[in-house]
Each structure stands twice: as structure tokens, then as C-alpha cells.
Subunit: 257 residues, 2 copies
Amino acid sequence: MSNIFDQSCLAIVTGTNRGLGKEIVHQLAKRITKPSCIVLISKSPETLKTNSESLRKQFPQHAFCTYACDLGIPSEVTDLISKLSEDLKAKVKQYEAAVLIQNAASLGRVDLTARDLDDMDHLQQYACLNLSSYIALHSMYLKLTSQQANLTKLIINISSLAASMPMPSTTDYCSYKAAREMALRVLDVENPDVRTLNYSPGPLESDMSEELKSKWTKKEATANWDYLTCEESVNRMMGILFENTFESATRIDYFDR
Amino acid sequence: MSNIFDQSCLAIVTGTNRGLGKEIVHQLAKRITKPSCIVLISKSPETLKTNSESLRKQFPQHAFCTYACDLGIPSEVTDLISKLSEDLKAKVKQYEAAVLIQNAASLGRVDLTARDLDDMDHLQQYACLNLSSYIALHSMYLKLTSQQANLTKLIINISSLAASMPMPSTTDYCSYKAAREMALRVLDVENPDVRTLNYSPGPLESDMSEELKSKWTKKEATANWDYLTCEESVNRMMGILFENTFESATRIDYFDR
């Protein structure tokens, strides 16, 4: 099976302002050989602007489009979906592959156990950022690409071991990681022409792990973890995509060999 | 291990107006031998009134309290949690066991595939009914019971095979069933004094299966299912609770033997 790197791609990535998402965009731009378009979706318009300007200088062969959106606010997601659908409708026809990488996510209330997790505003905002927007972006992608039979189609969910491993004080994080994997598995059953992957990136040196180290009720556990740089983890993910032999809808963890 | 049926119980059940939830309440009332209190939570106040009046006549030894709440509306859930906390605080001290059975759930958009599932209002309402309110009720229960060391504590999630088996046109249903099981597993890790069970009731003759038969894109599949009455499935669940040898946080399906 040919991989995405020798095809012209329309790649859509969420949560691109920092950490893993930023590194994913950088490596896609570096590894895709044909002129492509990378769509960056993040919360802060200022950081999107700075990052995309830097990317345009480093990778002048590619186009970089940016969309600022707080994926935790339903109305912003609805607007984003409608803009993306409109803007990409003609554009997608120019490419050989369409890739959606859903990286945006939040850690949740790792400072609380289930006993104290009852703030409905938090729970609904968490649902929106971590699942409702994720499902809506799947829908946008599938509508966008369904007319092109010859398009290479790939969707990646940035998952976590937490999707299958319950840990204290991670009710929201674990539950929604499990839900995201299941949503992708249903999509996979429905769309045999789309390859899907749940990639679990391992414990990363990132702002999210700093948040975990400072807030988690089990912060002593984080001291013993074998932290990876975002670059190491994305190298591994790109290796999986390069080999392109993974079974669709599977979960692959960084440490799986 | 002694089971709940020979203890005086405070039992809280959601989604009690019909189908499985109604049958669960009926069998709890029939099987619990000591005077107990059963709290019914459902959407329609009229049906709650009719059902509870009928239960009081049949089982005069027990008390039945009712709370009308649309679990799909965040503000109603917040009000419910606050009322339950207040009303049950003194009451729980009179009982030997406290049981929470989370049965309320909805089928979701089984008429749509992932390609068309992008209505953020639906997705957020679905999250609220099927997970946010479920997590908030866990919190209420844990706060209510945490001071009583000798209380027998049991939480049951009415789950489904869909929690682990992706099927076409069930993105929301499957994802949230997976998330609910994971949320209960995290709770179980955090609370060694609470026994928890994910019970998968099998395909039931109920309003929900009628909805599935009429709306599901795969409605032809429903013709071959081995339908159970709610009574048969609840008999099995009560048998599991009577034996009380299940491993906490496990999933047991009706057909597991």
C-alpha cells in the first residue's frame, strides 16, 4: 500500500499550537514530498498566525491555512464546520490524499476524584472539546471526501493508554479517550475506504504533562514515567504511516513493537 | 458476601418510567425483604406519579420517592443533584445498603452514519443525558455515602454490548456506552469500598428496541435478534446481585454463563 508521504495531501490537524500537534504539522510538512495543503485548527489566533508564518518560510512548497476555534464551545464548532466545508470543497479535488488528525484534547479535572466531579458546566465543555467536536469533524471530513473515489483517506485519533486503563482522578480523561476510540471504530466499520488509526503517543514532555505533574492527585506517579519528546513520539507515528501496514481502527501505542 | 436483598436499602434508580428501569424498581421492591426506600428518577412527572402510586399499593412496606428530571438538560441535573444531596443526607443513615442503578440512556441518532452526525445541539444533549449526568450522579452518591463506613455500597451501570462492539450508525450510542463503562472502572479504582457492575441486559422487548427497529439504518438486523422480556433480563441481573460473587467493575452480559 502506498503511503501518504508520496502523495499530494490535504491534511487537517487540530490542536496545532503547541506540543504534539505542533510537531505533527512540522513533520507532515517535512515528510510530504509533493506540494500540499495543511489546515491548522487551534484556539489562539495569535499563535496560529505566528506558527503558520514560520511554517510558510520553512516549507514554501506547501500551503498552510489556519482556523481559530475553541472546540469546547458548540457554536464555534458549528461555525468552524460550516467554514471548513465551504472553503475545502473545491480544494480537496486538487489532492491525492486527505488526512484528518484529531489531536485537540484536554486533560480534565485530574485534581478531582469521581466523588467531586459534579460541575455540569465543566462536564459539558469537556464533552464538547473532547467528543462532540471530534464527531462533528469526522462528519465534515466524510462529507468532504465521499465524492472522490480515488482519494487516499486517512483519519488518526490521538489517543492514550488511558482509553483502556482506568487510573484514579481521570474519570473525564479516561472516559472520553475510550469514547473517541469507539467513535473511530464505528466510523471504520461504516467506511471501508477510509483507513483509521488510534495512536497512543506515550507520556510526553509537553504542557499537558506539566499540567498533569502539577495537578494530578497521583503526581508522585509521574516521576517514574519514561518521558518522550514530542519529536520522538511523532517520529514513531510517522514511521507507522510510512510502513502503512497497520490494521485499520487498531490502537498502536508508542511502546508497542 | 451478603447481598443487598436481606438489608434495608436506599436504592436510587434512573430512567424508571418504562421498560428495563420500571422492571428494575419492581423487582427491587419485591426482592428486598426489609423496609427500604426506592428513589425513582425519570423525565415525566405524570408517569412518575402513576407508577409510584401503584408501587406504594403493591409494596406498602417500602417508601418510594420520586424526582422528575430531564437528565439531558444541564441545569435540571444540577438542581436534581442538589435536591437529592439535601433530601437523602439524613435518610441514608437509616439504611444498611445504598444502591445506585444508572439505567437512564438514549439510543441516539441510529438513523445516521458518522458522515451525517454533526448537529452540535444533539451531540451536547446526548453527552448530558448519557455521561455528564451519570458522572454527576456518581459524585452525589459518593458524597452521600462516604461518611458511612459500614454501609454496603453498590453502583450498577446499565450498559450494552455496544460498549465494546462497534456497529454501523451507532456512533453516539457505542461511544457513550464505552465511556460509561470506563467512568465506572475509574470510580472502582478510586473506591475499594464500593462494588460496581456493568450489566449488559441483552436485546430487550422495549420502547428502545421498537425505536431501534423503526429508525436504525440496519433495521433488517433486528429481525434475527433473540429478544428478551425486561423481566427475563432483570431476573438475570438480580440473580447476579443475589449470588454477589462478580468481580467489581466487570461487565456481565445477559448471555454470559
